[in-house]
Point group: C2
Chain length 126, copies 2
DNA sequence: TTACATGCAAAGTATTTGCTTCGCT
DNA sequence: AGCGAAGCAAATACTTTGCATGTAA
């Protein structure tokens, strides 16, 4: 992976931004100071970072892909109102495996759990 | 909901087809005998059936939405090789709630779990 | 120097929407 | 008859790709 100023600014942006930005949000945060930056470059680099394990993708149906700089095990909550993503710690004592049990229908490689709900901020605004 | 021959043939097709067809697969299965059928009509009706609880959507990132005629509680497995969807029964004695525990970050409304792996058929083909 | 990365525009995929016409009820 | 539904094409949203040019090593 060749080092470019685009890669550096993208990684830097993600680490400065709160939460789980989308490719476009990262692009828009950088665009004012880097008018020639291309959205395609942002997408290409984010995907490469994910492949290399520097970032994690958060894929939510009907939403643009978000990127998560936290690599430890946790679940993702999605606020149905504001669409914000919330990191939800996994319990150490109980794993998803335990809950699902033996799956004889396939050889399981990974789980992807999304928890939908209303975040505390949206809740308070009612 | 007005009864039309399109609605009838779509519902009929899903119940005759195995597995979890996409809108386009349903459309293509009906098109030969119904050349004037529109894909938009298939999408509109499938969405309406889901809203009314007659079908369930299976949403998988980077895949077209599939439709499931089984309404009982179960999880969905996705074969990473052939992209087939497999119904995986939920265990009665342990719920996902138990496993995830209290979520203080949000008010949870629902969970969406996808189990990724290699299905038995693809496994046997190795 | 040379191969990989970028920028731009165009293409791609899945799905929805606007509008006219059709056909249930 | 009247209004919801269908058909068609165009629009949409997000993301990827082709290709010429730029630039890190």
């Amino acid at each position: 992976m060749r080092q470019t100023k685009q890669k550096l600014m993208i990684i830097d942006a993600i680490h400065k931004m709160d939460g789980h930005p989308s490719a476009e949000e990262i692009y828009l945060s950088l665009k004012p100071d880097n008018p020639q930056l291309s959205l395609a470059t942002v997408y290409r680099n984010l995907n490469e970072f994910c492949e290399r394990g520097l970032l994690r993708k958060v894929e939510i149906p009907n939403e643009p892909v978000r990127f998560d700089k936290h690599l430890n095990t946790h679940f993702h909550g999605v606020c149905e109102r504001c669409k914000k993503i919330i990191n939800i710690p996994a319990r150490k004592e109980k794993s998803l495996q335990d809950c699902i049990g033996m799956v004889k229908e396939m050889e399981v490689t990974r789980y992807n759990l999304l928890i939908y709900g209303i975040c505390n901020e949206c809740r308070d605004q009612e």
